[in-house]
Amino acid sequence: MAVKKFVVGYFEDEPELFAGVKKIRSAGYKIHDVYTPMPIHGLDKAMGLRDTSLHTAGFIYGITGTTTALSGIGWIFNSDWPINFGGKSHFDLPAWIPITFELTVLFSAVGMVMTFCYLCNLAPFVRKHHFNLRSTDDQFTVVLELTAKSNEGEIQAFLASIGAKGINTQVAESGWWLGRYDKDKTPIGTSLA
């Protein structure tokens, strides 16, 4: 994983965050991510994120479940082990519907949870760098990536000009690594400010 340099600024309030994010984007800086204490309506639009494809994945998992159930039950009751249940035919669609429904829901639900965890790098022992611990409490943190073209001092001055309350620069792992929170510290994440 790549170690990169980030400029971090935090805002105290939601409206300031929205205005800030808009100004950062129109100024052309690259937003690495925004960390907030709670989900915020419309922030994804303000950040210019594309719509998630999680629901498409969910649909695919769902029809996989439907197919699994129908072909599984169909095979069992028609060729593997045909049993006469109260004189009903072997190809007995209404009786299969509840199980088909359950498997559709099960596949799409479990599949979407796993996909979500994968996309967000959530798993036991997977660690990510925290830019600002108080973004789980009461601060709205904006993280900008320092690229070859951008200048650290300039970005810090810019963040100050749009009303960020605290500004610092951090060198951190941009992805995830394995470890445990109580034992190891961030390998690089040293706050410079």
Binding site: D51, F59, P94, A95
Partner: protein
């Protein structure tokens, strides 16, 4: 809010269409009466009137249910188009009266071919019908129908007048809280009455008693789901129409998305109830119960039976699934019309197989009567929309609806 057009003027074409459709309805009524009125005790004639009047009464009444349910849930998203739902619910008054007249013609007029429990000699020799005779009697039927339609009208008027009462008086926060509480109480009373009527007793009386020996406890829920999903489709159509004409500036794709979600969700809910009713009967395979499904599933009505499932389940499921479809005015318009037609067909196959097990007697007469009711709904709702402001401008939740975002 001076830029908002609050007063709807009925366009000439809307008026012509509604009057024209009502004309078609009246013409069909006359021709139908001449053709079928005295043939075979008028079964064909009265069954068509019964199916159409009950169906259209239940879907306009679903608009008032929508208002009360969202009020109870303290929902805000519907506030920008709330006046449209209120206008639709006014149609409960004329259609309710028409339905009541039709029901009385059948019951007091002793149309025994429609409701077999009207025949006293027959009931006296039938143990099952004798056991039900307290419930399935002209007296109970009449009293319950008066109460059903009367209280829908009265409670609906109360909800509408509450909504209009603050049009010219901006509320303070304290008054707003009191206002909301008052609304909640009346909405709760309506919902309780709705539960006792549409969600339980009334469909048993009006529709299920056609097959007097057979019963299903799911029946009323299933009827309710049918009428609610087509009621949502009706609301959506009016909202889109007004939006097209340049009214309802505050309604946008977010509101359309939620209306689409309602149609999607309740289509699935309808299917769930439909299937639950069907599967238990099919599984147990007792002849007293399967008699209801026999003409529908493997008789003359097979085509309608499967078409019903395709229109009301598969089509909404596949077409409404994606977010973009629910935010597209053309798709939603098409699906709303399809759903209203689909559930009309559903009601058709609730009523007719008992009287005509061997063939489907559907022809232009049925469609003519249906179009007459459509015209009546358009006419009454149009008048109501033109009479009152289109925006509930002082409602405490209006802002929530304007900034609504899904």
């Amino acid at each position: 809010m001076s830029s908002i057009k609050e007063h709807f003027e009925i366009p000439g074409r809307f008026k012509q269409w509604s009057l024209g459709l009502m004309g078609v309805g009246i013409l069909s009524l006359i021709i139908g009466f001449i053709m079928y009125g005295n043939v075979d005790h008028g079964t064909r004639f009265w069954a068509t009137l019964l199916q159409n009047s009950v169906y259209f009464l239940l879907i306009v009444n679903a608009a008032m249910f929508f208002i009360c349910a969202t009020t109870l849930a303290w929902g805000g998203f519907q506030m920008t188009f709330r006046r449209v739902t209120e206008a639709i619910s006014i149609s409960v008054i004329p259609i309710g009266i028409i339905t009541f007249i039709i029901l009385m013609c059948i019951v007091v007029g002793g149309k025994e071919t429609i409701y077999e429990w009207l025949n006293r000699d027959h009931v006296a020799h039938d143990e099952i019908l004798k056991g039900k005779s307290g419930f399935l009697s002209p007296t109970f039927f009449t009293v319950w129908s008066i109460l059903t339609i009367g209280l829908w009208i009265v409670l609906g008027m109360k909800m509408r007048s509450l909504s209009r009462s603050i049009d010219n008086t901006p509320l303070t926060i304290e008054q707003g809280k009191k206002y909301m509480f008052n609304n909640t109480v009346w909405a709760a009373i309506y919902i309780v009455w709705f539960a006792l009527t549409v969600a339980s007793v009334t469909p048993w009386l009006w529709l299920m008693s056609i097959d007097a020996h057979w019963f299903s406890t799911m029946y009323s829920w299933y009827t309710f789901a049918s009428s609610f999903v087509s009621g949502m489709a009706l609301i959506t159509l009016f909202v889109i129409y007004l939006k097209n004409k340049g009214y309802l500036e505050l309604v946008n794709e977010e509101h359309l998305h939620d209306l689409g979600k309602f149609q999607f969700a309740f289509s699935i809910f309808w299917t769930y109830l439909w299937f639950a009713q069907f599967m238990l009967t099919w599984y147990a395979n007792i002849s007293e119960e399967t008699i209801y499904f026999k003409p529908r599933l493997i008789g003359a009505y097979t085509g309608i039976f499967y078409l019903n499932l395709i229109i009301n389940f598969l089509a909404p499921l596949l077409i409404y699934m994606s977010r973009n479809a629910k935010r597209n005015y053309a798709t939603v318009t098409f699906m709303s019309i399809l759903i209203i037609f689909g559930h009309w067909l559903d009601f058709y196959q609730m009523v007719f197989p008992h009287h005509y097990p061997d063939h489907v007697p559907m022809n232009l007469f049925d469609f003519g009567i249906a179009l007459g009711f459509v015209g009546l709904i358009m006419w009454r709702t149009g008048l109501a929309l033109a009479k009152y402001p289109l925006l509930a401008r002082n409602h405490p939740f209006l802002k929530e609806s304007i900034i609504h975002h899904t």
